[in-house]
């Protein structure tokens, strides 16, 4: 009996794989990539953002970030600005959700005012950088539609899944993004962003991946190049700490103002 079942099962399975559409395969990989990040709990990190214009002049923003994983919803995050000096002490609290708009509060230290803000301007630049708010937000799986394109080499001897992502949320500045995700550990190595006119607008390259808690990969350098303006922004990450004991209590309007 077993003699027959096994070949049948194999045949069925391969038929199944054959029948998987590029959309289904893209979604399956995105889901596996998301699952590989499950259970990180919380993390804190320091981020140094360096903006460069075409003339090579640069300016720096330093931000301390705290993230709390929320089961069954988007993550909660708190960003505390340190430089430029005139925005020191400003902080932002975000409760991200899948397709529903994120909840966002801004704390302005000069007035000690906590302001609920609209998170609609997703395509707007984050502090004048080449990163838009939507590039830095929590990347929930339901925010995009996926299409698997091919597998190809992507440097360092790595192999990557090339997947096209189309934003499923309103007000995105992009028609689509091409993502290179390594087949081994689902690290997002490269993204090409296509603007509303479908022209290649920006490229994000992430390098210096390090593994934390034996499971979670994070890059230490993310470089965003704008092909249309010649401007670029780099994000240097440091002091990554995981499971620091943060809880929901550290992500509310009071904590924002501390």
């Amino acid at each position: 009996m077993i003699k027959y079942i096994l070949p049948v099962a194999i045949a069925l399975f391969s038929v199944n794989v054959m029948a998987e559409t590029p959309e289904e395969k893209g979604f399956r990989i995105a889901k596996a990539a998301e699952a590989s990040n499950d259970g990180f709990g919380d993390n804190t990190a320091d981020m140094t953002m360096t903006l460069k214009n075409r003339a090579g002049q640069s300016s720096v923003r330093k931000i301390h970030s705290k993230v709390l994983e929320v089961k069954g919803d988007g993550d909660k995050s708190l960003s505390l600005f340190d430089t430029p000096a005139d925005v020191k002490g400003t902080s932002m609290l975000t409760f991200s959700h899948g397709l529903k708009t994120d909840d966002q509060w801004l704390y302005l230290p000069a007035l000690k005012r906590v302001k609920r803000i609209s998170s609609r301007n997703k395509s707007g630049p984050f502090m004048g950088s080449e990163f838009a708010f939507e590039d830095l937000g929590s990347q929930e799986i339901e925010k995009y539609k996926y299409k698997y394109l091919r597998e190809e080499a992507c440097g360092k001897g790595w192999k990557c899944h090339v997947i096209e992502r189309t934003p499923a949320y309103k007000y995105s500045g992009y028609t689509r993004m091409m993502s290179w995700i390594d087949t081994n550990a689902y690290r997002l190595v490269k993204v090409d962003f296509y603007d509303r006119k479908n022209a290649k607008m920006k490229t994000l390259v992430s390098t210096g991946f390090k593994q934390y808690l034996g499971k979670y990969w994070r890059p230490n350098l993310m470089s965003m190049q704008n092909h249309l303006t010649g401007k670029s922004t780099t994000l240097q990450w440091s002091n990554y700490k995981f499971r620091t004991g943060l809880s929901h209590r550290d992500f509310n309007k009071n904590a924002l103002a501390r």
Binding site: L51, N53, S59, P84, A85, D86, V87, K88, G89, T101, D103, L111, K112, R113, V114, K115, R116, I117, S118, R120, N121, S123, G124, P125, M127, G128, S129, A132, K170, Y171, G173, L228, T244, G245, L246, H248, R249, D250, N252, K253, N254, A255, R258
Partner: protein, 395 residues
């Protein structure tokens, strides 16, 4: 006994300092401000524009995952023309400690309540630093104790305010005043305890999805004085009554629309009144390739007292446009007009700011009064339209 207290307070201070010495951060700014008035002064003694200097250093130490924060922040202003505008204030000297679902605060600080942009009705904890600015957003440090219970989607806070701060005013040489300058030396209070009357306040906040609600209650000495002209000595006398005030603030945050409302009901011996301000802010989608933001604001003001000196916005409409370029320099503009719907009085206000170079910021502010009606309290200051340019160095 005295020795014991001294020793223990020194110990506490020493402990605080040793904690703060570890990882405290020093920051602040120094500003040079130039003001130009569009019209000649209305009253004798008033001067034309001039220069002023400000210094606002801050020392902050956070520890235990930012659950504990100690802050010291002072403010000093030196004005070339108006010596009453020369003033120093402890804006903040406090300790905030969060533990579990509770947050405790003790010291001197600033508290902001409310949601609207053109007037802050609900906001009541701090006294206005009237000598400092014209928009009422500069506040004096308030001694306070606060206990907050933090819930999943809201907070309940209790405030004890053991000491009252009198409002500051510019002097005889300053602008933005009535024909008679305000007497800041002989102030009267309804409470026999005067500035030592203990005020208290309670505030509840809750977020219901896209709706943020705040409900507050204040019992104590009013922050806004009543004025009585004393023609013999040629001054305006201040009187601070005791009040009970209930406040409600609401904000609905949609994708393009923000809807806002603030309303208060104030009870005092002499008068009870209600006031409200409400309206919307509409944001346009990114209007240029670079991702600039444009927002339109409209807010309507009502005050049941009608056209009196204390109620500047009794039936007024505020319309404004706000623009953020979202560039590396953080360039922002705001231009708006208050329209008094009972007559023709208008106030036009403009604010712009931009970073220029490392740690430098340029702020431009302008305000003019147009078609001011004789009945309007603003007729006192109608000659005080100005343009102000400030350069701030942050460190």
């Amino acid at each position: 006994m005295k020795n014991k207290i001294l020793t223990s307070s020194c110990l506490v201070l020493g402990l605080l300092l040793s904690l703060t010495a570890q990882a405290g951060e020093f920051s602040g700014n120094i500003g040079l401000e130039g003001r130009y008035f569009l019209d000649d002064a209305a009253y004798t003694g008033q001067t034309a524009g001039g220069l002023a200097l400000s210094l606002e250093p801050e020392y902050k130490h956070k520890w235990d995952n930012d659950n504990n924060v100690f802050t010291v922040k002072t403010f000093s202003r030196w004005d070339q023309k108006d010596d009453k505008r020369n003033h120093h204030d402890i804006r903040q000297l406090d300790l905030v400690m969060a533990t579990g679902d509770w947050e405790f605060q003790a010291g001197i600080s600033r508290v902001f309540w409310g949601v609207t942009e053109s007037q802050h009705l609900v906001d009541i904890i701090n006294q206005t630093d009237g000598a400092e600015g014209t928009d009422g957003e500069d506040k004096l440090g308030q001694p306070l104790f606060r206990v907050s219970h933090i819930q999943e989607n809201g907070t309940v806070s209790f405030y004890l305010l053991p000491y009252f701060r009198e409002r500051t005013f510019g002097g005889k040489a300053g602008r933005f005043r009535a024909a008679l300058p305000v007497d800041t030396n002989n102030v009267s209070y309804e409470s026999t305890k005067k500035e030592k009357h203990i005020d208290y306040a309670v505030r509840l906040t809750h977020t219901f999805d896209a709706l943020d609600v705040g409900l507050s209650y204040f019992d104590g000495t009013a922050r806004s004085p009543l004025f009585k002209p004393d023609l013999r000595s040629g001054v305006l006398k201040q009187h601070y009554p005791l009040i009970k005030q209930v406040g409600l603030d609401l904000q609905y945050t949609g994708e393009e629309w923000l809807w806002k409302l603030e309303t208060i009901n104030r009870e005092a011996k002499k008068e009870n009144y209600t006031a409200a301000v409400g309206g919307f802010e509409y944001s346009f989608p990114a209007i240029t390739e670079s991702g600039s933001d444009l927002g339109l604001l409209a807010e309507y003001h009502h005050d049941s007292r009608g056209e009196v000196l204390q109620a500047q916005f009794q039936n007024d409409l505020f319309l404004a446009a706000r623009m953020s370029l979202n560039d590396a320099e953080g360039t922002e503009f705001l231009a708006g007009t208050f329209f008094d719907l009972d007559h023709q009085t208008k106030i036009f206000r403009m604010e712009a700011s931009r970073r220029i170079g490392k740690g430098l910021k340029l702020n431009i502010e302008a305000q003019t009064f147009m078609d001011v009606d004789k009945k309007d309290a603003l007729s006192n200051v109608k000659k005080d339209g100005f343009i102000q340019i400030e350069l701030q160095k942050y460190f």
